[in-house]
Symmetry: C2
Subunit: 313 residues, 2 copies
Protein backbone atom coordinates (compact mmCIF):
# COMPACT_ATOMS: atom_id res chain seq x y z
CA UNK A 1 0.00 0.00 0.00
CA UNK A 2 1.20 3.49 -0.67
CA UNK A 3 1.16 6.20 2.02
CA UNK A 4 -2.21 7.59 0.99
CA UNK A 5 -3.86 4.19 1.18
CA UNK A 6 -2.23 3.56 4.54
CA UNK A 7 -3.57 6.92 5.78
CA UNK A 8 -7.08 5.97 4.75
CA UNK A 9 -6.55 2.70 6.64
CA UNK A 10 -5.78 4.75 9.76
CA UNK A 11 -2.05 4.13 9.96
CA UNK A 12 -0.66 6.89 12.26
CA UNK A 13 2.88 6.63 10.88
CA UNK A 14 1.57 7.25 7.37
CA UNK A 15 -0.33 10.27 8.68
CA UNK A 16 2.81 11.68 10.32
CA UNK A 17 4.85 11.15 7.15
CA UNK A 18 2.24 12.76 4.92
CA UNK A 19 2.00 15.82 7.16
CA UNK A 20 5.78 16.18 6.87
CA UNK A 21 5.62 15.88 3.10
CA UNK A 22 2.97 18.59 2.97
CA UNK A 23 4.87 20.83 5.40
CA UNK A 24 8.03 20.45 3.33
CA UNK A 25 6.19 20.98 0.03
CA UNK A 26 7.62 17.73 -1.32
CA UNK A 27 7.02 17.45 -5.09
CA UNK A 28 3.67 15.78 -5.66
CA UNK A 29 2.11 16.88 -2.39
CA UNK A 30 -0.81 18.59 -4.15
CA UNK A 31 -1.76 15.27 -5.75
CA UNK A 32 -1.73 13.61 -2.32
CA UNK A 33 -4.17 16.21 -1.01
CA UNK A 34 -6.37 15.88 -4.08
CA UNK A 35 -6.43 12.08 -3.68
CA UNK A 36 -7.63 12.21 -0.09
CA UNK A 37 -9.99 15.14 -0.60
CA UNK A 38 -13.16 13.11 -1.12
CA UNK A 39 -12.58 11.58 2.33
CA UNK A 40 -12.57 14.93 4.11
CA UNK A 41 -15.34 17.00 5.66
CA UNK A 42 -16.57 14.59 8.34
CA UNK A 43 -14.61 15.95 11.33
CA UNK A 44 -15.63 18.84 13.55
CA UNK A 45 -12.87 21.43 13.96
CA UNK A 46 -12.26 23.48 17.09
CA UNK A 47 -9.85 26.41 17.06
CA UNK A 48 -8.29 27.43 20.36
CA UNK A 49 -6.49 30.77 20.58
CA UNK A 50 -5.57 33.46 23.09
CA UNK A 51 -2.50 35.26 24.41
CA UNK A 52 0.63 33.35 25.49
CA UNK A 53 0.37 32.13 29.06
CA UNK A 54 -3.42 31.87 29.10
CA UNK A 55 -3.13 28.13 29.68
CA UNK A 56 -4.33 27.03 26.26
CA UNK A 57 -2.34 23.83 26.07
CA UNK A 58 -3.45 22.67 29.53
CA UNK A 59 -7.02 23.36 28.45
CA UNK A 60 -6.51 21.38 25.25
CA UNK A 61 -5.01 18.53 27.26
CA UNK A 62 -8.09 18.31 29.50
CA UNK A 63 -10.52 18.73 26.63
CA UNK A 64 -8.85 15.92 24.70
CA UNK A 65 -9.16 13.62 27.72
CA UNK A 66 -12.85 14.44 28.05
CA UNK A 67 -13.50 13.79 24.38
CA UNK A 68 -11.59 10.50 24.64
CA UNK A 69 -13.71 9.48 27.63
CA UNK A 70 -16.72 9.94 25.36
CA UNK A 71 -15.08 7.62 22.86
CA UNK A 72 -14.33 10.36 20.31
CA UNK A 73 -11.05 10.34 18.39
CA UNK A 74 -9.10 13.61 18.34
CA UNK A 75 -6.34 15.08 16.19
CA UNK A 76 -4.46 18.08 17.60
CA UNK A 77 -2.39 20.57 15.59
CA UNK A 78 -0.41 22.97 17.77
CA UNK A 79 0.63 25.85 15.50
CA UNK A 80 3.42 28.26 16.33
CA UNK A 81 4.25 31.00 13.83
CA UNK A 82 6.60 32.67 16.32
CA UNK A 83 9.04 29.79 16.36
CA UNK A 84 11.93 28.99 16.32
CA UNK A 85 12.39 30.07 19.92
CA UNK A 86 9.08 28.99 21.36
CA UNK A 87 9.27 25.74 19.42
CA UNK A 88 11.11 24.07 22.27
CA UNK A 89 8.69 25.34 24.88
CA UNK A 90 5.81 24.08 22.83
CA UNK A 91 7.24 20.59 22.69
CA UNK A 92 7.91 20.80 26.42
CA UNK A 93 4.26 21.61 26.98
CA UNK A 94 3.39 18.47 25.14
CA UNK A 95 5.37 16.22 27.42
CA UNK A 96 2.54 16.03 29.91
CA UNK A 97 0.37 14.72 27.11
CA UNK A 98 2.73 11.80 26.69
CA UNK A 99 0.33 9.26 28.15
CA UNK A 100 -2.07 10.38 25.45
CA UNK A 101 0.53 9.63 22.82
CA UNK A 102 0.21 5.89 23.43
CA UNK A 103 -3.55 6.25 22.83
CA UNK A 104 -4.47 5.30 19.25
CA UNK A 105 -7.43 7.66 19.28
CA UNK A 106 -5.26 10.74 19.71
CA UNK A 107 -2.73 12.30 17.36
CA UNK A 108 -0.72 15.37 18.41
CA UNK A 109 1.46 17.37 16.09
CA UNK A 110 3.33 20.66 16.41
CA UNK A 111 3.66 22.85 13.36
CA UNK A 112 6.00 25.80 13.14
CA UNK A 113 6.86 28.39 10.53
CA UNK A 114 9.14 26.92 7.89
CA UNK A 115 10.68 30.04 6.48
CA UNK A 116 9.98 30.56 2.83
CA UNK A 117 8.28 27.21 2.42
CA UNK A 118 4.90 28.87 2.48
CA UNK A 119 2.46 30.06 5.03
CA UNK A 120 1.72 28.22 8.23
CA UNK A 121 -1.99 28.97 7.79
CA UNK A 122 -1.94 27.03 4.53
CA UNK A 123 0.09 24.13 5.96
CA UNK A 124 -2.27 23.90 8.93
CA UNK A 125 -5.25 23.71 6.57
CA UNK A 126 -3.55 20.94 4.63
CA UNK A 127 -2.61 19.00 7.74
CA UNK A 128 -6.22 19.34 8.95
CA UNK A 129 -7.40 17.77 5.66
CA UNK A 130 -5.06 14.84 6.27
CA UNK A 131 -6.42 14.45 9.82
CA UNK A 132 -9.96 14.49 8.41
CA UNK A 133 -9.12 11.85 5.84
CA UNK A 134 -7.62 9.72 8.62
CA UNK A 135 -11.06 9.90 10.19
CA UNK A 136 -10.74 11.79 13.47
CA UNK A 137 -14.08 12.82 14.96
CA UNK A 138 -12.67 16.06 16.30
CA UNK A 139 -9.75 18.21 15.21
CA UNK A 140 -8.27 20.84 17.48
CA UNK A 141 -6.26 23.69 15.98
CA UNK A 142 -4.35 25.29 18.82
CA UNK A 143 -2.19 28.41 18.54
CA UNK A 144 0.56 29.66 20.81
CA UNK A 145 -0.08 33.36 20.55
CA UNK A 146 -2.75 35.38 18.85
CA UNK A 147 -1.24 37.38 16.00
CA UNK A 148 -2.63 37.64 12.49
CA UNK A 149 -1.38 34.23 11.37
CA UNK A 150 -2.96 32.59 14.42
CA UNK A 151 -6.26 34.29 13.69
CA UNK A 152 -6.10 32.98 10.12
CA UNK A 153 -5.47 29.49 11.48
CA UNK A 154 -8.34 29.35 13.96
CA UNK A 155 -10.73 30.89 11.49
CA UNK A 156 -10.38 27.61 9.64
CA UNK A 157 -12.22 26.01 12.57
CA UNK A 158 -15.95 25.34 12.87
CA UNK A 159 -15.98 26.66 16.44
CA UNK A 160 -13.36 29.10 17.72
CA UNK A 161 -12.63 29.27 21.44
CA UNK A 162 -10.92 32.44 22.68
CA UNK A 163 -9.07 31.83 25.96
CA UNK A 164 -8.36 34.77 28.26
CA UNK A 165 -7.12 35.11 31.83
CA UNK A 166 -8.48 37.57 34.38
CA UNK A 167 -5.19 39.15 35.45
CA UNK A 168 -3.74 40.78 32.44
CA UNK A 169 -6.29 43.19 31.08
CA UNK A 170 -6.79 40.63 28.34
CA UNK A 171 -10.44 41.46 27.90
CA UNK A 172 -9.73 45.08 27.09
CA UNK A 173 -6.85 44.12 24.81
CA UNK A 174 -9.00 41.56 23.03
CA UNK A 175 -11.71 44.09 22.48
CA UNK A 176 -9.33 46.75 21.19
CA UNK A 177 -7.79 44.25 18.83
CA UNK A 178 -11.13 43.29 17.36
CA UNK A 179 -10.68 39.75 18.64
CA UNK A 180 -14.15 39.63 20.16
CA UNK A 181 -15.39 39.07 16.63
CA UNK A 182 -13.57 35.78 16.18
CA UNK A 183 -14.68 33.98 19.37
CA UNK A 184 -17.68 31.66 19.22
CA UNK A 185 -17.06 30.55 22.80
CA UNK A 186 -15.09 32.49 25.43
CA UNK A 187 -13.09 31.02 28.28
CA UNK A 188 -11.89 32.86 31.36
CA UNK A 189 -9.18 30.44 32.44
CA UNK A 190 -7.32 30.53 35.78
CA UNK A 191 -10.61 31.84 37.12
CA UNK A 192 -9.56 31.04 40.68
CA UNK A 193 -7.04 33.87 40.43
CA UNK A 194 -7.20 37.61 40.09
CA UNK A 195 -10.35 39.42 39.24
CA UNK A 196 -12.15 36.62 37.48
CA UNK A 197 -15.63 37.95 38.17
CA UNK A 198 -14.73 41.38 36.88
CA UNK A 199 -13.24 39.88 33.72
CA UNK A 200 -16.38 37.76 33.30
CA UNK A 201 -18.69 40.76 33.69
CA UNK A 202 -16.59 42.89 31.33
CA UNK A 203 -16.78 40.16 28.74
CA UNK A 204 -20.51 39.82 29.23
CA UNK A 205 -21.06 43.55 28.76
CA UNK A 206 -18.90 43.62 25.68
CA UNK A 207 -20.48 40.58 24.07
CA UNK A 208 -23.94 41.98 24.88
CA UNK A 209 -23.17 44.87 22.50
CA UNK A 210 -22.73 42.51 19.59
CA UNK A 211 -25.45 42.41 16.95
CA UNK A 212 -24.88 38.79 15.98
CA UNK A 213 -27.57 36.19 16.32
CA UNK A 214 -25.24 33.81 18.17
CA UNK A 215 -24.47 35.06 21.66
CA UNK A 216 -21.11 33.51 22.62
CA UNK A 217 -21.22 31.69 25.96
CA UNK A 218 -18.52 32.52 28.51
CA UNK A 219 -17.07 29.62 30.49
CA UNK A 220 -14.97 29.94 33.64
CA UNK A 221 -12.29 27.29 33.88
CA UNK A 222 -9.32 26.31 35.99
CA UNK A 223 -7.77 24.03 33.41
CA UNK A 224 -4.91 22.92 35.65
CA UNK A 225 -7.49 21.54 38.10
CA UNK A 226 -9.80 20.18 35.42
CA UNK A 227 -12.52 22.64 36.45
CA UNK A 228 -15.04 23.89 33.91
CA UNK A 229 -13.98 21.50 31.16
CA UNK A 230 -17.37 19.77 31.02
CA UNK A 231 -19.02 23.20 30.81
CA UNK A 232 -16.65 24.17 27.99
CA UNK A 233 -17.45 20.92 26.21
CA UNK A 234 -21.16 21.62 26.40
CA UNK A 235 -20.73 25.25 25.27
CA UNK A 236 -18.87 23.95 22.23
CA UNK A 237 -21.63 21.41 21.65
CA UNK A 238 -24.27 24.15 21.77
CA UNK A 239 -22.36 26.17 19.19
CA UNK A 240 -21.91 23.04 17.08
CA UNK A 241 -25.67 22.41 17.12
CA UNK A 242 -26.36 26.06 16.29
CA UNK A 243 -23.88 25.96 13.43
CA UNK A 244 -25.20 22.73 11.99
CA UNK A 245 -28.67 24.22 11.88
CA UNK A 246 -27.56 27.57 10.49
CA UNK A 247 -24.16 28.68 9.31
CA UNK A 248 -21.84 25.66 9.11
CA UNK A 249 -22.05 25.07 5.38
CA UNK A 250 -21.56 28.79 4.71
CA UNK A 251 -18.57 28.87 7.08
CA UNK A 252 -16.96 25.88 5.41
CA UNK A 253 -17.53 27.44 2.00
CA UNK A 254 -15.76 30.65 3.07
CA UNK A 255 -12.89 28.60 4.49
CA UNK A 256 -12.52 26.56 1.30
CA UNK A 257 -12.51 29.75 -0.75
CA UNK A 258 -9.75 31.24 1.40
CA UNK A 259 -7.79 27.99 1.09
CA UNK A 260 -8.14 27.98 -2.69
CA UNK A 261 -6.89 31.57 -2.80
CA UNK A 262 -3.90 30.64 -0.63
CA UNK A 263 -2.99 27.80 -2.99
CA UNK A 264 -3.17 30.09 -6.00
CA UNK A 265 -1.22 32.91 -4.34
CA UNK A 266 1.55 30.60 -3.16
CA UNK A 267 1.94 29.03 -6.58
CA UNK A 268 1.82 32.40 -8.32
CA UNK A 269 4.54 33.65 -6.00
CA UNK A 270 6.73 30.74 -7.11
CA UNK A 271 6.09 31.51 -10.77
CA UNK A 272 6.46 35.27 -10.54
CA UNK A 273 10.20 35.58 -10.33
CA UNK A 274 11.29 33.68 -13.40
CA UNK A 275 14.63 34.56 -14.94
CA UNK A 276 13.33 37.07 -17.47
CA UNK A 277 11.47 39.03 -14.81
CA UNK A 278 14.45 38.95 -12.46
CA UNK A 279 16.51 40.55 -15.23
CA UNK A 280 13.95 43.36 -15.54
CA UNK A 281 14.09 43.73 -11.77
CA UNK A 282 17.88 43.96 -11.79
CA UNK A 283 17.84 46.63 -14.48
CA UNK A 284 15.41 48.72 -12.46
CA UNK A 285 17.53 48.11 -9.37
CA UNK A 286 20.59 49.67 -11.03
CA UNK A 287 18.54 52.72 -11.92
CA UNK A 288 17.31 53.04 -8.34
CA UNK A 289 20.80 52.68 -6.88
CA UNK A 290 21.98 55.45 -9.20
CA UNK A 291 19.01 57.52 -7.98
CA UNK A 292 17.71 57.74 -11.54
CA UNK A 293 14.62 55.84 -10.49
CA UNK A 294 12.50 55.44 -7.34
CA UNK A 295 11.27 52.13 -5.88
CA UNK A 296 7.56 52.66 -6.35
CA UNK A 297 7.88 53.99 -9.87
CA UNK A 298 10.06 51.00 -10.73
CA UNK A 299 7.53 48.64 -9.18
CA UNK A 300 4.78 50.30 -11.17
CA UNK A 301 6.63 49.78 -14.43
CA UNK A 302 7.23 46.11 -13.68
CA UNK A 303 3.66 45.72 -12.50
CA UNK A 304 2.17 47.33 -15.56
CA UNK A 305 3.42 44.58 -17.80
CA UNK A 306 2.38 41.87 -15.34
CA UNK A 307 -1.01 43.21 -14.43
CA UNK A 308 -2.20 44.24 -17.85
CA UNK A 309 -1.81 40.63 -18.86
CA UNK A 310 -3.51 39.48 -15.65
CA UNK A 311 -6.52 41.65 -16.52
CA UNK A 312 -6.75 40.06 -19.95
CA UNK A 313 -7.52 36.62 -18.61
Amino acid sequence: MNLTERLLNRDPSALAKLISQVENRVPGYPEILDQIFSHTGHSYRIGITGPPGAGKSTLVDKLVRLLRAEGKTVGVLACDPTSPFTGGALLGDRIRMQDLVSDDGVFIRSMATRGSLGGLAKSAQEAALLLEAFGFDWIILETIGVGQVEVDIVQAADTTVLVLVPQSGDVIQAMKAGLMEIGDVFVVNKSDQGEADLAYRNLQTMLGLSMHEWMPPIVKTVASQNQGIVELRSAIERHKAYQEKNTLSHRRRVRLKAFLQMIIEEELQLQLWHSQRLKTLDAQLEQILNKHQTPYRAAKEILQSISSSLQNN
Copy 2:
Protein backbone atom coordinates in the same frame (compact mmCIF):
# COMPACT_ATOMS: atom_id res chain seq x y z
CA MET B 1 4.74 73.42 3.64
CA ASN B 2 3.32 69.98 2.95
CA LEU B 3 4.14 66.99 5.16
CA THR B 4 7.01 65.78 3.01
CA GLU B 5 8.72 69.17 3.07
CA ARG B 6 8.21 69.37 6.82
CA LEU B 7 9.78 65.91 7.19
CA LEU B 8 12.83 67.04 5.25
CA ASN B 9 12.95 70.08 7.56
CA ARG B 10 13.15 67.68 10.52
CA ASP B 11 9.67 68.19 11.93
CA PRO B 12 8.99 65.17 14.21
CA SER B 13 5.21 65.50 14.02
CA ALA B 14 5.37 65.32 10.21
CA LEU B 15 7.52 62.19 10.55
CA ALA B 16 4.99 60.57 12.89
CA LYS B 17 2.10 61.41 10.57
CA LEU B 18 3.89 60.12 7.48
CA ILE B 19 4.72 56.82 9.20
CA SER B 20 1.02 56.44 10.04
CA GLN B 21 0.06 57.15 6.44
CA VAL B 22 2.47 54.53 5.20
CA GLU B 23 1.36 51.99 7.83
CA ASN B 24 -2.27 52.57 6.88
CA ARG B 25 -1.56 52.45 3.14
CA VAL B 26 -3.25 55.79 2.67
CA PRO B 27 -3.83 56.52 -1.05
CA GLY B 28 -0.79 58.31 -2.43
CA TYR B 29 1.69 56.85 0.08
CA PRO B 30 3.88 55.38 -2.69
CA GLU B 31 4.36 58.88 -4.10
CA ILE B 32 5.43 60.15 -0.68
CA LEU B 33 8.10 57.46 -0.47
CA ASP B 34 9.25 58.17 -4.01
CA GLN B 35 9.52 61.90 -3.20
CA ILE B 36 11.76 61.39 -0.20
CA PHE B 37 13.79 58.56 -1.72
CA SER B 38 16.68 60.70 -2.96
CA HIS B 39 17.23 61.84 0.64
CA THR B 40 17.69 58.29 1.97
CA GLY B 41 20.77 56.11 2.36
CA HIS B 42 22.78 58.20 4.80
CA SER B 43 21.81 56.49 8.06
CA TYR B 44 23.36 53.39 9.55
CA ARG B 45 20.83 50.71 10.47
CA ILE B 46 21.17 48.31 13.38
CA GLY B 47 18.80 45.36 13.75
CA ILE B 48 18.31 43.94 17.23
CA THR B 49 16.60 40.58 17.61
CA GLY B 50 16.41 37.61 19.96
CA PRO B 51 13.86 35.64 21.96
CA PRO B 52 11.24 37.37 24.13
CA GLY B 53 12.60 38.19 27.58
CA ALA B 54 16.23 38.49 26.48
CA GLY B 55 16.20 42.15 27.55
CA LYS B 56 16.32 43.66 24.06
CA SER B 57 14.41 46.82 24.85
CA THR B 58 16.56 47.59 27.90
CA LEU B 59 19.61 47.07 25.73
CA VAL B 60 18.21 49.39 23.07
CA ASP B 61 17.45 51.99 25.73
CA LYS B 62 21.07 51.99 26.95
CA LEU B 63 22.49 51.93 23.45
CA VAL B 64 20.38 54.92 22.44
CA ARG B 65 21.64 56.87 25.48
CA LEU B 66 25.23 56.07 24.58
CA LEU B 67 24.77 57.14 20.97
CA ARG B 68 23.09 60.34 22.16
CA ALA B 69 26.02 61.05 24.48
CA GLU B 70 28.21 60.90 21.35
CA GLY B 71 25.91 63.47 19.75
CA LYS B 72 24.37 61.02 17.26
CA THR B 73 20.66 61.20 16.45
CA VAL B 74 18.72 57.93 16.63
CA GLY B 75 15.41 56.66 15.28
CA VAL B 76 14.01 53.48 16.83
CA LEU B 77 11.37 51.21 15.28
CA ALA B 78 10.09 48.53 17.68
CA CYS B 79 8.35 45.91 15.54
CA ASP B 80 5.89 43.39 16.90
CA PRO B 81 4.28 40.97 14.46
CA THR B 82 2.73 38.98 17.33
CA SER B 83 0.45 41.78 18.41
CA PRO B 84 -2.32 42.57 19.33
CA PHE B 85 -1.65 41.07 22.75
CA THR B 86 1.94 42.06 23.25
CA GLY B 87 1.22 45.52 21.85
CA GLY B 88 0.36 46.84 25.27
CA ALA B 89 3.42 45.31 26.89
CA LEU B 90 5.61 46.83 24.26
CA LEU B 91 4.31 50.31 24.90
CA GLY B 92 4.75 49.68 28.63
CA ASP B 93 8.39 48.85 27.97
CA ARG B 94 8.74 52.20 26.33
CA ILE B 95 7.60 54.19 29.32
CA ARG B 96 11.04 54.09 30.88
CA MET B 97 12.31 55.72 27.71
CA GLN B 98 10.02 58.65 28.33
CA ASP B 99 12.82 61.01 29.26
CA LEU B 100 14.25 60.23 25.86
CA VAL B 101 11.00 61.24 24.24
CA SER B 102 11.56 64.89 25.12
CA ASP B 103 14.95 64.66 23.40
CA ASP B 104 14.75 66.01 19.84
CA GLY B 105 17.54 63.73 18.72
CA VAL B 106 15.55 60.56 19.41
CA PHE B 107 12.40 59.22 17.78
CA ILE B 108 10.74 56.03 19.03
CA ARG B 109 7.92 54.27 17.28
CA SER B 110 6.16 50.94 17.81
CA MET B 111 4.89 49.09 14.77
CA ALA B 112 2.51 46.15 14.93
CA THR B 113 0.84 43.88 12.42
CA ARG B 114 -2.09 45.64 10.80
CA GLY B 115 -4.08 42.68 9.63
CA SER B 116 -4.52 42.56 5.91
CA LEU B 117 -2.98 45.97 5.37
CA GLY B 118 0.23 44.38 4.19
CA GLY B 119 3.31 42.91 5.70
CA LEU B 120 5.05 44.37 8.71
CA ALA B 121 8.43 43.73 7.08
CA LYS B 122 7.46 46.05 4.21
CA SER B 123 5.99 48.72 6.52
CA ALA B 124 9.16 48.65 8.64
CA GLN B 125 11.29 49.15 5.53
CA GLU B 126 9.14 52.08 4.51
CA ALA B 127 9.22 53.66 7.96
CA ALA B 128 13.01 53.24 7.96
CA LEU B 129 13.18 55.19 4.69
CA LEU B 130 11.19 58.01 6.30
CA LEU B 131 13.58 58.01 9.28
CA GLU B 132 16.52 58.19 6.87
CA ALA B 133 14.99 61.11 5.01
CA PHE B 134 14.44 62.86 8.34
CA GLY B 135 18.19 62.59 8.76
CA PHE B 136 18.85 60.31 11.74
CA ASP B 137 22.46 59.18 12.00
CA TRP B 138 21.45 55.78 13.32
CA ILE B 139 18.31 53.72 12.94
CA ILE B 140 17.54 50.82 15.26
CA LEU B 141 15.11 48.13 14.12
CA GLU B 142 14.13 46.18 17.21
CA THR B 143 11.91 43.09 17.24
CA ILE B 144 9.95 41.56 20.09
CA GLY B 145 10.37 37.93 19.22
CA VAL B 146 12.39 36.13 16.61
CA GLY B 147 10.03 34.44 14.14
CA GLN B 148 10.30 34.61 10.36
CA VAL B 149 8.82 38.10 10.05
CA GLU B 150 11.27 39.42 12.63
CA VAL B 151 14.19 37.86 10.77
CA ASP B 152 12.98 39.55 7.58
CA ILE B 153 12.86 42.86 9.44
CA VAL B 154 16.35 42.77 10.93
CA GLN B 155 17.85 41.54 7.70
CA ALA B 156 17.02 45.01 6.43
CA ALA B 157 19.71 46.31 8.82
CA ASP B 158 23.36 47.01 8.07
CA THR B 159 24.46 45.28 11.28
CA THR B 160 22.29 42.68 12.99
CA VAL B 161 22.73 42.07 16.72
CA LEU B 162 21.42 38.76 18.07
CA VAL B 163 20.67 38.98 21.79
CA LEU B 164 20.64 35.78 23.86
CA VAL B 165 20.51 35.01 27.57
CA PRO B 166 22.52 32.33 29.31
CA GLN B 167 19.69 30.57 31.14
CA SER B 168 17.34 29.31 28.56
CA GLY B 169 19.26 27.09 26.20
CA ASP B 170 18.99 29.96 23.75
CA VAL B 171 22.33 29.24 22.15
CA ILE B 172 21.33 25.72 21.20
CA GLN B 173 17.92 26.90 20.01
CA ALA B 174 19.47 29.66 17.95
CA MET B 175 21.85 27.21 16.32
CA LYS B 176 19.13 24.68 15.55
CA ALA B 177 16.98 27.41 14.06
CA GLY B 178 19.75 28.59 11.76
CA LEU B 179 19.80 31.96 13.49
CA MET B 180 23.58 31.95 13.89
CA GLU B 181 23.72 32.94 10.24
CA ILE B 182 21.89 36.23 10.73
CA GLY B 183 23.95 37.64 13.61
CA ASP B 184 26.82 40.05 12.84
CA VAL B 185 27.34 40.73 16.54
CA PHE B 186 26.22 38.47 19.41
CA VAL B 187 25.20 39.58 22.85
CA VAL B 188 24.96 37.38 25.95
CA ASN B 189 22.76 39.63 28.05
CA LYS B 190 22.00 39.12 31.75
CA SER B 191 25.50 37.73 31.89
CA ASP B 192 25.60 38.12 35.67
CA GLN B 193 23.08 35.31 35.87
CA GLY B 194 23.07 31.60 35.12
CA GLU B 195 25.77 29.96 33.11
CA ALA B 196 26.96 32.99 31.19
CA ASP B 197 30.48 31.62 30.68
CA LEU B 198 29.16 28.36 29.33
CA ALA B 199 26.81 30.19 26.96
CA TYR B 200 29.73 32.38 25.85
CA ARG B 201 31.97 29.38 25.21
CA ASN B 202 29.21 27.51 23.36
CA LEU B 203 28.67 30.51 21.14
CA GLN B 204 32.39 30.84 20.54
CA THR B 205 32.69 27.21 19.51
CA MET B 206 29.70 27.44 17.24
CA LEU B 207 30.78 30.68 15.57
CA GLY B 208 34.27 29.26 15.12
CA LEU B 209 32.81 26.65 12.79
CA SER B 210 31.55 29.32 10.41
CA MET B 211 33.35 29.76 7.11
CA HIS B 212 32.56 33.45 6.77
CA GLU B 213 35.30 36.05 6.58
CA TRP B 214 33.67 38.16 9.30
CA MET B 215 33.98 36.50 12.71
CA PRO B 216 31.08 37.87 14.79
CA PRO B 217 32.24 39.30 18.13
CA ILE B 218 30.44 38.15 21.28
CA VAL B 219 29.70 40.79 23.90
CA LYS B 220 28.65 40.08 27.48
CA THR B 221 26.21 42.64 28.83
CA VAL B 222 24.04 43.33 31.83
CA ALA B 223 21.82 45.89 30.13
CA SER B 224 19.80 46.69 33.24
CA GLN B 225 23.04 47.81 34.91
CA ASN B 226 24.45 49.50 31.84
CA GLN B 227 27.30 46.98 31.70
CA GLY B 228 28.90 46.05 28.41
CA ILE B 229 27.11 48.73 26.38
CA VAL B 230 30.33 50.51 25.42
CA GLU B 231 31.77 47.15 24.35
CA LEU B 232 28.63 46.47 22.28
CA ARG B 233 28.92 49.91 20.72
CA SER B 234 32.50 49.26 19.70
CA ALA B 235 31.67 45.79 18.35
CA ILE B 236 29.00 47.38 16.17
CA GLU B 237 31.53 50.02 15.08
CA ARG B 238 34.02 47.31 14.08
CA HIS B 239 31.36 45.58 12.00
CA LYS B 240 30.35 48.91 10.49
CA ALA B 241 33.94 49.61 9.46
CA TYR B 242 34.29 46.10 8.06
CA GLN B 243 31.07 46.48 6.11
CA GLU B 244 31.93 49.87 4.71
CA LYS B 245 35.19 48.47 3.41
CA ASN B 246 33.64 45.28 2.05
CA THR B 247 30.03 44.25 1.81
CA LEU B 248 27.80 47.22 2.66
CA SER B 249 26.86 48.23 -0.86
CA HIS B 250 26.13 44.61 -1.75
CA ARG B 251 24.02 44.20 1.38
CA ARG B 252 22.02 47.33 0.62
CA ARG B 253 21.50 46.16 -2.94
CA VAL B 254 20.09 42.83 -1.74
CA ARG B 255 17.82 44.67 0.67
CA LEU B 256 16.53 47.05 -1.99
CA LYS B 257 15.84 44.11 -4.28
CA ALA B 258 13.82 42.34 -1.57
CA PHE B 259 11.94 45.58 -0.91
CA LEU B 260 11.12 46.01 -4.59
CA GLN B 261 9.83 42.45 -4.72
CA MET B 262 7.66 43.08 -1.65
CA ILE B 263 6.11 46.15 -3.29
CA ILE B 264 5.33 44.21 -6.45
CA GLU B 265 3.92 41.21 -4.61
CA GLU B 266 1.68 43.30 -2.38
CA GLU B 267 0.31 45.25 -5.31
CA LEU B 268 -0.18 42.11 -7.38
CA GLN B 269 -2.10 40.54 -4.52
CA LEU B 270 -4.45 43.52 -4.56
CA GLN B 271 -4.97 43.20 -8.30
CA LEU B 272 -5.31 39.43 -8.42
CA TRP B 273 -8.82 39.03 -7.14
CA HIS B 274 -10.78 41.26 -9.49
CA SER B 275 -14.45 40.47 -10.04
CA GLN B 276 -14.03 38.31 -13.12
CA ARG B 277 -11.47 36.10 -11.40
CA LEU B 278 -13.59 35.83 -8.26
CA LYS B 279 -16.42 34.52 -10.47
CA THR B 280 -14.14 31.82 -11.85
CA LEU B 281 -13.11 31.01 -8.30
CA ASP B 282 -16.74 30.71 -7.19
CA ALA B 283 -17.58 28.39 -10.05
CA GLN B 284 -14.67 26.12 -9.11
CA LEU B 285 -15.72 26.32 -5.48
CA GLU B 286 -19.16 24.90 -6.30
CA GLN B 287 -17.53 22.01 -8.12
CA ILE B 288 -15.28 21.30 -5.15
CA LEU B 289 -18.15 21.43 -2.65
CA ASN B 290 -20.03 18.91 -4.83
CA LYS B 291 -16.87 16.80 -4.80
CA HIS B 292 -16.71 17.00 -8.59
CA GLN B 293 -13.43 18.82 -8.31
CA THR B 294 -10.45 18.90 -5.92
CA PRO B 295 -8.78 22.06 -4.55
CA TYR B 296 -5.39 21.64 -6.19
CA ARG B 297 -6.80 20.71 -9.57
CA ALA B 298 -9.11 23.74 -9.39
CA ALA B 299 -6.19 25.97 -8.40
CA LYS B 300 -4.20 24.58 -11.31
CA GLU B 301 -6.93 25.46 -13.78
CA ILE B 302 -7.21 29.01 -12.48
CA LEU B 303 -3.44 29.32 -12.39
CA GLN B 304 -2.96 28.09 -15.92
CA SER B 305 -4.76 31.08 -17.35
CA ILE B 306 -2.97 33.49 -15.02
CA SER B 307 0.52 32.12 -15.31
CA SER B 308 0.60 31.51 -19.04
CA SER B 309 0.00 35.23 -19.48
CA LEU B 310 2.63 36.01 -16.83
CA GLN B 311 5.18 33.99 -18.80
CA ASN B 312 4.45 35.97 -21.94
CA ASN B 313 5.63 39.26 -20.53
